[in-house]
Subunit: 336 residues, 4 copies
Amino acid sequence: MDIGIIGGSGYTGGELLRLLSQHPDAHVAAVTSRSKKGQKVSETHKHLRKIYDLEFEDLNPDDVASRCDIVFTAVPHGTAMQVVPALIEGGAKVIDLSADYRLRTDVFENVYRLKHIDPRDAVYGIPELHPEVAKQTFIANPGCYPTGALLAAAPLTAAGLIERAVFDSKSGISGAGIEPSEVSHYPNMAENIQAYKLTSHRHRAEIVQELMHLDANLKRISFTPHVIPSVRGILTTAHIFVKKQLCEEDVSKIYRDFYEDKPFIRLIKGIPMPRNVRGSNFCDIGFEIEKDSDRIVIISAIDNLVKGASGQAIQNMNLMFGIDEITGLWTPALAP
Amino acid sequence: MDIGIIGGSGYTGGELLRLLSQHPDAHVAAVTSRSKKGQKVSETHKHLRKIYDLEFEDLNPDDVASRCDIVFTAVPHGTAMQVVPALIEGGAKVIDLSADYRLRTDVFENVYRLKHIDPRDAVYGIPELHPEVAKQTFIANPGCYPTGALLAAAPLTAAGLIERAVFDSKSGISGAGIEPSEVSHYPNMAENIQAYKLTSHRHRAEIVQELMHLDANLKRISFTPHVIPSVRGILTTAHIFVKKQLCEEDVSKIYRDFYEDKPFIRLIKGIPMPRNVRGSNFCDIGFEIEKDSDRIVIISAIDNLVKGASGQAIQNMNLMFGIDEITGLWTPALAP
Amino acid sequence: MDIGIIGGSGYTGGELLRLLSQHPDAHVAAVTSRSKKGQKVSETHKHLRKIYDLEFEDLNPDDVASRCDIVFTAVPHGTAMQVVPALIEGGAKVIDLSADYRLRTDVFENVYRLKHIDPRDAVYGIPELHPEVAKQTFIANPGCYPTGALLAAAPLTAAGLIERAVFDSKSGISGAGIEPSEVSHYPNMAENIQAYKLTSHRHRAEIVQELMHLDANLKRISFTPHVIPSVRGILTTAHIFVKKQLCEEDVSKIYRDFYEDKPFIRLIKGIPMPRNVRGSNFCDIGFEIEKDSDRIVIISAIDNLVKGASGQAIQNMNLMFGIDEITGLWTPALAP
Amino acid sequence: MDIGIIGGSGYTGGELLRLLSQHPDAHVAAVTSRSKKGQKVSETHKHLRKIYDLEFEDLNPDDVASRCDIVFTAVPHGTAMQVVPALIEGGAKVIDLSADYRLRTDVFENVYRLKHIDPRDAVYGIPELHPEVAKQTFIANPGCYPTGALLAAAPLTAAGLIERAVFDSKSGISGAGIEPSEVSHYPNMAENIQAYKLTSHRHRAEIVQELMHLDANLKRISFTPHVIPSVRGILTTAHIFVKKQLCEEDVSKIYRDFYEDKPFIRLIKGIPMPRNVRGSNFCDIGFEIEKDSDRIVIISAIDNLVKGASGQAIQNMNLMFGIDEITGLWTPALAP
């Protein structure tokens, strides 16, 4: 496959390049960056020296579409919608890593306070929840927080068992991107934890949309994100309040059945940790039932840049092209 | 005041020494450590070199009680109950930093799976909630997690407004003590977050006891702790579900009134962070009300070793001796 | 003493405020910041909430000089020289924390590539090396790296024993200031170490000047700095090559004699670490002599913002006013 | 190739497993651990869940040798020498990751204070310096610090240009292994840097042996290691004092010629950082010449567990079997 990456100078772009370098069927044919055109890709992503000899190109969607079988758009929300139509019309398959096509248009416009210039349907690309990604030509790749939250809660939601869900998520800072900011300034990150957007993070809309897709009656859904002193990783602590008492074997069975044959889901006894998925496309899930209570705590761990972004995008690519979804992604985490 | 510290070789002992070195009325007369007797205190606590020239003594409660006006017991649970009776009988005021006297005896025995050999009442030493610490001779100093959780939720609880409270707490590793362990091993801590005791942490019993003391009808109380890659600090994310719609000014007023004249409570607009309280006795509290929802997110930040342990103990000491509670504690956090 | 701080919105300004809040004779009368005038000091330095109720003023040197006994200039190099003359003429004592007055004017202009508009002599304010700071009215406060390097090597230098000195220094990132940058971006700092200015860091000129002041024959002086994943602290590894074989007792005696009665120097057996001086004005020094070699490794540890900047400035202030140099500074490190 | 790993429960064992899972010609046939026999490998190395279904076996060298084409010994020094003879006699190729066979026997016994029970020659396995690893049946895999130091200094050493070399090395803590210790305790690591064995680290003997192999006249070699708050990575700051003035192009040419066709060496303009090699087998090297001085600063960056241990071992394996040395190792670093 000839592959294009629109917006290759950020972290998700760099991660696509890192992962695709290990993919037996992938050939990166074009990487664009308007601000860095003409520069070596490995000047920006210094860890890719000797791995890629490519240069960033200027953005020319028609040209990229003509040279590529599939194009990843790794640009900010609001920008993707300006590029995607030309790519699709140019005949390329497209996976959009921005937020532009994840939500129903009216919800998007409300949440992102932005008029959508290219309303169009896309499959929401969590393959474990949307097997219909296979054979698609256009996928909206999910947000990192929603990936962690949805994989944690989907089985119980689909079983119609959840009364209320509170997602308390803890993320590494790489989700905020490659540009330095006050939040990412080391003296503000180290030995600290920063809660933010306590009730109003935009990713909540994705979580609500997808959970209600599984159970239209589930409406009490809360989400609060935090940044911890880490580069990668999202740990989601899902405080789930259920409609009826469940025992451990009940819950285990629901999860085992739901995730049967899903290679990247690892159901574990014990408590997942980001260190065990870092750099990999795995999502580890564990849970504990509170005694004499309606609460179940479900923990999921993903790498926000892999299963939460670029790895999942490649998983989607594999399925779109009809090849084994683990191709190029069957690598363990980097630990310790 | 002549002060004794039983069990001075751990982190809370070291922190008592650090803080007391700045207290104008304090004179540390005795520090015990059975394993390090005869060694310089500053051999263990190397940051105290030139500050203290003391040596650790063997444990002799009668002797310590006779030489001290007040004694802090900074020993593990189960050990404190073996020492406290002799100290009290010896005429010393006592502040116990262990868990031994925080809970009703039957609850303690159930939670800690340990027969109590010295059932006796103690005031639970959060001065903001228990002004009766003043003039006491024996105080049970609270746990670190309960301090953060209770200060976050007490005002709304006392107002009878809470239906359900979920405390999702994130702590530095110093709460686990000075002894190396698999959890505290740097490669397991760095770039990671470790949830643990998802539904069954012992500190939950303190939270329940004290919240029900403020509102006997509040029974739906959940607590899940995490260790983040930090040495100090606890951020408590309190997901509070209320019985009736409240606006921002309602909640602000409840907190302002409740914490009026409490010097160590800082009610802030914006979101508290551990970095702003590190090394200090302050507790920063902020909140946000979710739109169209019954949820309020309250965030508190404390230093687990100061307001969550040794600083609060000294605050209690001040009140027990009838002096201004801020004496020796009015120091800002170390930031950045 | 009424105290002014010019440029109070950065880390050294914040650290002056933190330390002065504990100083029994200090009253901060004015803090300036052109970019933040009219804002609360505690909006920028949130850890100082409830400690200071001051607002930043616009910069007016004459006015500040008239209201203050002493003024600290905590502004970038090149800016200090524009402010200092008016402060001195206004009758205030001045301690400049910038680089503007540390070097001989011709050296300064060469190293900083900047014309000096106010050539004037100042005492180089390391009190352990320049006891003449006492009774001065104008002090050039040293750089952080030079403080660590000079305190490590001064005794052997003064004894005329050094043939060659290689200073390999490791610093926390707070030395680079409060403004976010690519270097301070958490994903570039964490799990990394960044060497920089391998042979040409400007602080080398201070080290050379001061060592040659102690031994005019010592000319082979090298300095290479690194940033490690820490906020505070400088560890200096001084690889010292000596002219003749020395035994441990020789070196110990030289250091003991040289630093006799210097309260903030702690000569230790074992190896100093930044954690034991964090937040304090101490400088820990230890050494080891290589067997069958002319090398001695001397290690010093300081907090770059305290002994390497604001703490040392206050130590100088104390001496300038004829009071005990430890006043307000006799606080242990924050550890763990 | 059927592969055995003796001592698979530590970090180098885990890293061999991680890397071999991506090697097209590798089949791990046996992993031993006396303390964990019968347990799943993925219970210890949780990041390998779903990647390996193996169990640890008890240690039986004859049996392992009979089932494997090549065996890695990843056990402590002193233990390897008890296992290696049986493996070799059993017909397996062997790569020993311990220190037992790296040094001349008399040097080993002196440095490690241990009688050697199996004196035998081995090629010192840095393939860039010892191309004779190809076709060997027994290799002593180098220490992590020596790998970083030797690759930094070898070209100038081989050119006979070095008068004195001072290696100031900074390592992540994973080099100290999987067992928790006081040094690895998070509160001792975070926001700190620990120099140790200032003049007497055992790895110095390897550095001396190998540099003198390249230039028998180079005798002034110093080495001081430090642990920084990182899990992986070694940055070596080589302060090299040369016999004659060299310009940048001179040095560049020496390095380019020396490392021509060495795939894992990346000579870079600018300064190497561990983040750009983390998880990979690359060694990045850069340098700067001090003006008006005999000093050149050479910086190398490696991942201590990969190029400094398990990756280099696999590189050696590839060469021993006559296949391309990059097989299974041509993966970029995990960054950010």
